[in-house]
């Protein structure tokens, strides 16, 4: 199998949705024809492209990527951020995009967090009609993203990046 080295990386792996450990392992990140490969000393691990569900940016400074696959998550930081950004851009079209929330989701949640809960106001600010906003709120509620009193749940908070959470804290949302 041919592989091409992308960068030296610090990484960590967690099973399922378990909490990630600090990035305490060192390895080399490579790309192969069918997936990405991590070499850690004598051990070589492969993650195939079709098995990947998402490639998220966990933080910008330094750039940390989280790759989620069936059954595990891998987080990594490299020496050259642009190489990891490039890998993300290469992979996303292959896996049909990132798992980011539907457009407007975060804006609506931030407005709710700020205390704007009237559907007519939310609709006028977001440029949507009231039925669309109500449908989004109903979906959020049934998916467990907001409570019956339209407060954000922990599940909602998991959609935000660390810098977005800082912003929510200023609005008085407990993160």
């Amino acid at each position: 199998m041919k592989v091409h080295k992308i960068d030296d990386v610090k990484f960590s792996v967690a099973e399922g949705d378990n909490q990630m450990h600090p990035l305490d392992r060192l390895g080399e990140l490579h790309i192969a024809e069918t997936g990405i490969v991590i070499r850690e000393g004598e051990s070589i691990y492969r993650i195939s492209f079709p098995s990947l569900r998402s490639v998220e940016v966990v933080s910008n400074e330094p750039l940390r990527l989280r790759l989620t696959s069936k059954g595990f998550q891998l987080e990594m930081e490299g020496c050259r951020a642009e190489r990891l950004w490039a890998l993300r851009s290469l992979i996303l079209p292959i896996i049909n995009g990132d798992e980011k929330p539907k457009p407007g989701t975060k804006t609506l949640l931030i407005l709710l967090g700020a205390g704007v809960k009237g559907v007519p106001h939310l609709a006028s600010i977001m440029g949507l009609d009231e039925n669309e906003v109500q449908a989004m709120l109903d979906d959020f509620n049934s998916e467990g993203i907001i409570t019956d009193s339209m407060d954000m749940t922990q599940q909602a908070l998991s959609l935000f990046t660390p810098s977005e959470k800082d912003f929510l804290v200023k609005l008085g949302v407990k993160c």
């Binding site: 199998m1 041919k2 592989v3 091409h4 080295k5 792996v13 099973e15 392992r25 790309i31 192969a32 024809e33 069918t34 490969v37 850690e40 051990s43 070589i44 691990y45 492969r46 993650i47 195939s48 492209f49 910008n60 696959s69 069936k70 595990f72 891998l74 951020a81 642009e82 190489r83 950004w85 490039a86 890998l87 993300r88 851009s89 290469l90 992979i91 996303l92 079209p93 292959i94 049909n96 995009g97 990132d98 457009p103 407007g104 975060k106 804006t107 931030i110 407005l111 700020a114 205390g115 704007v116 809960k117 106001h121 006028s124 600010i125 977001m126 440029g127 912003f167 200023k170 609005l171």
Partner: protein, 292 residues
């Protein structure tokens, strides 16, 4: 299976190399392009595509993104909290084989999101909604701006005094009389506050009250006083070009970082994860080995 219809491993590596060059240029451009808020204010106050095209910041973005290699930028629609930008002749689309009919330009979405957030101070949610690789004549990106950030940029201390006065129970006319504003300025402020849904039917709306409550505490309210980046655009363009050339040169010299590994020595993390216990054991074993 070769990903996304790339014909060979060499094409995958070439695609990654081109994306790395673009990312290098994007990072350099964003690092050099901080825009003072008075210029951003003119940009987001534009109400039509024609108005926006005449704003200096828009013209700067057009040049910047073209020089990075992301294509010819134009605007197709402007709303209060949304912008629709199109890109034609983008190098990004050429990286990916055409046959898959998928959206491909995540790199452009990320670049726009980073530019709005880091250089304009406006958190933005960017999504590609049409793509040349999916058969559209141009790639179109929807940029959703965070309303509270837009308010912070668009409304000034006089607007805030009007809102405060109205929350205290005065009418709009009483509020502007207190501040001795002339008629044309009063009309302008009234239309701005109405346009952004801060006042409706002569009352401060829920979002207006929210903005008043948080005031300047959410974003940096200090007016920045530095020249806009287009004052020295030729230097920025030169740095972008030399950075991209350097990245290309590095990419060419790292061709020897391709090697062959024995497939039998490779562990599939996905297969191991399916056997949940053995995967846990595998990781535990590796950690233990590392400790020893």
């Amino acid at each position: 299976m070769t990903p996304y219809g790339f014909k060979s491993f060499a094409e995958v590596v070439a695609g990654l190399g081109k994306l790395t060059q673009l990312e290098t240029a994007i990072s350099k451009a964003i690092e050099q392009s901080k825009v003072p808020s008075q210029e951003t204010r003119k940009f987001i106050k534009s109400q039509t595509p024609d108005q926006l095209r005449n704003v200096a910041l828009f013209q700067f973005m057009k040049e910047l993104f073209k020089d990075i290699g992301l294509g010819e930028m134009d605007v197709s629609r402007v709303d209060n909290f949304k912008l629709y930008l199109s890109f034609a002749s983008s190098q990004v689309c050429e990286i990916y084989p055409k046959q898959n009919k998928k959206m491909t330009c995540y790199i452009t979405s990320d670049a726009l999101s980073r530019f709005f957030s880091e250089d304009l101070g406006l958190p933005a949610d960017v999504s590609e909604i049409e793509c040349c690789n999916k058969g559209s004549p141009t790639c179109i990106f929807e940029i959703g701006l965070q309303p509270l950030a837009v308010y912070q940029m668009v409304l000034d201390s006089v607007d805030r005094s009007i809102i405060s006065s109205m929350i205290d129970g005065k009418s709009f006319d009483e509020s502007i009389n207190e501040m001795s504003l002339d008629k044309s300025e009063a009309e302008y402020r009234h239309s701005t506050l109405k346009r952004y849904h801060v006042i409706e039917e002569e009352r401060v709306t829920e979002i207006g009250k929210t903005y008043h409550k948080y005031g300047g505490s959410l974003f940096n309210e200090e007016e920045d006083n530095f020249p806009p980046p287009w004052v020295e655009y030729s230097r920025i363009a030169g740095e972008i070009a030399s950075t991209a050339s350097f990245a290309e040169a590095v990419s060419e010299t790292t061709d020897d970082s391709t090697e062959e590994i024995n497939e039998k020595e490779v562990t599939s993390m996905t297969e191991e994860a399916k056997k949940s216990h053995s995967f846990a054991e595998l990781i535990a074993k590796k950690v233990k080995e590392g400790e020893n």
